[in-house]
């Protein structure tokens, strides 16, 4: 059963940017990753789902209700993290969380549990908190009323790697409990670890809508192989592997799904070093982001 439905939604801003004819749906109990670089239209889509903006065309439904017209009803069972951290001035973490609870007329609460889990100190004023701390406050506010549906706009931004791990564990637990989750991200690794399916958005258009495994097959990873001699560099060059750069005895090799072949060729050389090169989303999904990836290089 589809819980979140986005049907042919177009929303254009004066600048000409926006989202164009976007359609996807998220089923009950599914974790959906919404992938795209900054400015691609992730937040624009999420604003529609939260009922903050009016569509030009199409419609967004959550549990069959129009997200713009029935936002009040929908917010009873949705937890939301905004893409940009913004709170009320001069509130402490505790005052803010209490205020939001009261605004939700929330009976049950697992605030205390989440505060412990995120190692969050709620006593200081929010304006005095670090970015990571603020993000933890936002996470707690989104999860504390134990909602059925989560809409999370770049939920891990600002979190340190350890907290990112804690967050991913939390998402997986919620998934086990049958929650429906839509989270946007510009990191495929994060989506890969949590999501069942993902949509890839580029310049306001959905360029892929696939399960995470087939996306993974399309992902390009760059490895830097250090070999001993220039003869071995030649050997690598003569293989079928895609080579993007050679500096001395270091060879940068792009792998998408041909890991087997990669290993077979490597066994013929004496490998001194092997590193994975960090790539951004555009480089990892050249297939979808051809033009932009070249621009970035």
């Amino acid at each position: 059963m589809s819980i979140i439905q986005v049907e042919n939604v177009t929303k254009t801003y004066k600048s000409g940017k926006g989202i164009f004819d976007i359609s996807f749906s998220v089923d009950q109990g599914e974790v959906f990753g919404y992938l795209g670089p900054n400015g691609a239209g992730k937040t624009t889509t999420i604003r529609q789902l939260m009922g903050f903006t009016n569509v030009d065309q199409g419609r967004c439904l959550i549990r069959g209700m129009d997200t713009r017209l029935q936002a009040e009803e929908i917010q009873k069972f949705v937890g939301y993290i905004p893409g940009e951290i913004a709170f009320f001035n001069n509130m402490t973490g505790k005052q803010f969380l209490d205020f939001i609870s009261q605004m939700r007329k929330q009976a049950k609460s697992r605030t205390a549990e989440l505060v412990t889990r995120f190692e969050l100190d709620v006593k200081p004023k929010i304006s005095k908190m670090s970015k990571g701390m603020k993000q933890k406050v936002a996470l707690t506010a989104a999860f504390m009323h134990d909602p059925e549906i989560y809409i999370l706009d770049e939920p891990t931004s600002g979190l340190d790697p350890l907290m990112q791990k804690t967050f991913i564990e939390l998402i997986l637990e919620e998934k086990k409990r049958g929650k429906t989750i839509l989270m946007s991200s510009h990191s495929f690794e994060e989506v890969e670890r949590t999501s069942d399916r993902a949509g890839v958005i580029r310049e306001g258009r959905l360029v892929a809508l696939e399960d995470v495994n087939s996306l993974k097959a399309a992902q390009r990873k760059a490895f830097i192989v250090t070999v001993v001699s220039s003869g071995e560099v030649e050997l690598l060059q003569n293989s079928n592997l895609e080579i993007s750069r050679i500096t001395g005895n270091q060879v940068e090799i792009i792998i998408s799904s041909n890991y087997d072949e990669f290993i077979r060729v490597l066994t013929k050389c004496s490998v001194k070093g092997l590193d994975v090169l960090n790539q951004n989303l555009e480089q990892a999904f050249m297939k979808y982001y051809g033009r932009e990836a070249e621009k970035n290089e």
Binding site: F52, T53, N54, A71, N90
Partner: protein
């Protein structure tokens, strides 16, 4: 109306109201203590040493001889316009536009409360807080007068002046609130939310300077009520009541409808 939000809004804005009220009290006490039923000529002589255009702009050309008309002409022609105007401008901007610009509006709307409920709560806060401000000024006027000159203040006409000025401020705050709802940045909200009332204020002052400029007053909201005329009983009160009420109704309603429908960049 949402009680939780109302409480929160009061908590983050009451200090502005208190400061405005304190400044108004300082002037009120000074003005009442300046009244001297035996020696009005002394005050007149002092006023004549001031630049006449400046005094005229502040509406101080005609001074009443009773305590009521003295206070009303001194205080309600200028100070009671300026300070509540500052309050309206600052607070109206904070109620909606600042929340949208900062993004904290997203948190309000991510709770199960409709936009309508949130914007109406904020509008009610502005209306109620201005009402309370004027109630306090009215009561303080009576208390100061009774302490210094017992029995001199005509409470009936003093009440009427306060009520009519209050209505005027429903309109002024409505204008600022409208722009706060219309714009998504405090820069624009303040430019118009302060600009329009201040323009009215300046036009009103200009119209007082010389008789040949008095037509300028036709373009000013503040010229709708002439406090001294009200006290003396020869002002057309119906216009001072109906026009501000209509403007208030229109601006608040329009602001609420616009906010309920618009795209929010949050």
């Amino acid at each position: 109306m949402n009680k939780t939000l109302f409480k929160q809004t009061s908590k983050s804005n009451w200090i502005i109201g208190v400061i405005i009220f304190a400044v108004m009290m300082m002037y009120l006490s000074i003005i009442i203590s300046m009244f001297d039923p035996e020696n009005m000529e002394g005050i007149m002589a002092m006023l004549e040493t001031m630049p006449q255009e400046l005094m005229a702009a502040m509406g101080l050309t005609e001074l009443g001889v009773t305590l009521t008309s003295f206070v009303v002409s001194y205080y309600y022609g200028f100070l009671v316009i300026m300070f509540p105007m500052i309050y309206s401008i600052i607070v109206a901007n904070r109620l909606i536009a600042a929340h949208v610009e900062r993004g904290s509006m997203a948190y309000l709307l991510a709770t199960p409360n409709s936009r309508l409920e949130i914007v109406i709560t904020q509008a009610l806060f502005l209306i109620l807080s201005i009402t309370v401000l004027f109630l306090f000024v009215f009561l303080a006027g009576i208390i100061f007068s009774e302490i210094l000159f017992p029995g001199h203040l005509e409470i009936g006409s003093f009440l009427l002046v306060n009520l009519i000025t209050l209505l005027l401020f429903y309109a002024v705050s409505g204008i600022s609130f409208f722009f706060s709802c219309l714009f998504n940045t405090t820069r624009k909200s303040l430019a118009f939310g302060a600009g329009v009332p201040v323009a009215f204020f300046v036009l009103d002052m200009l119209s007082n300077v010389r008789d040949q400029y008095s037509w300028i007053g036709n373009f000013s909201l503040f010229s709708l009520s002439d406090p001294l005329r009200i006290v003396e009983g020869d002002a057309v009160i119906s216009i001072s009541i109906v026009v501000p009420l209509l403007i208030a109704l229109m601006t608040y309603t329009a602001g609420i409808i616009i906010f309920n429908r618009k795209d929010l960049p949050i």
